[in-house]
Symmetry: C2
Subunit: 104 residues, 2 copies
DNA sequence: TTAGTATTTCGTAGAATTACGAAACAAAGA
DNA sequence: TCTTTGTTTCGTAATTCTACGAAATACTAA
């Protein structure tokens, strides 16, 4: 721990991480897709058909969103069913809301 | 215009741009600073004293936020007074809110 | 065991981001 | 005019991001 100076608050770092996760139209597309099909199984392949990127690229975007904690994948072989991680989603929502509300 | 296929919606592209603008702790710091000093003049130099980055780097971050439309600079020589661009700020707030609210 | 399906990981390349210090700018004041 | 002051732009380097196709993985079914 010592030697590692913190110049930004935990909150600022966390906000930046969440913002980065959604800072790409393909990732917004993915989250929109999950929202629009909230009761269905959302597989990587379903999304790949609508979006003009290679499947491997889509997979990397899914990995980013997973790393950020915004989605989670439930293995259902040979598929993987993706969905929103509600706990972190709610946290992000509240952080962004407080952030934007603060200066109005 | 023709030849330029759109794969993502305008809204998705715009969300991604706003998210990208705030996807760095230094830029969140700047926006927090502007919020905490809403009635004061906010100069680049004031922020530079609290933040461990070169002034030129800070200036680049300010440029990014300006480009995204989230802040604006009012020239008050030899200073430049920065403040939130309320119109775009409100738009971003609403977009993020709708985005997060959609899937809960 | 072999073949088939859905998905991810790997290797790689090009583009974009972040950072710094030096130099340039623009305005005020001596 | 020459300095000083606050800030931005430039040149550059290191890192990160985005993208692709090929190969690997993991499981099912024949």
């Amino acid at each position: 721990m010592p030697g590692k100076k913190k110049y930004y608050t935990e909150s600022q770092e966390k906000m930046a991480r969440y913002a980065k996760a959604i800072a790409h139209p393909a990732r917004i597309y993915i989250l929109d897709f999950l929202a629009d099909n909230i009761d269905k199984c959302c597989y990587s392949g379903d999304m790949a058909e609508d979006i003009p990127i290679a499947r491997s690229t889509l997979s990397e975007h899914l990995k980013e969103l997973k790393k950020a904690g915004l989605i989670q994948g439930e293995i259902n072989p040979p598929y993987i069913k993706y969905c929103i991680n509600k706990e972190n989603w709610e946290e992000a929502h509240q952080m962004f809301d407080a952030f934007f509300r603060k200066r109005l």
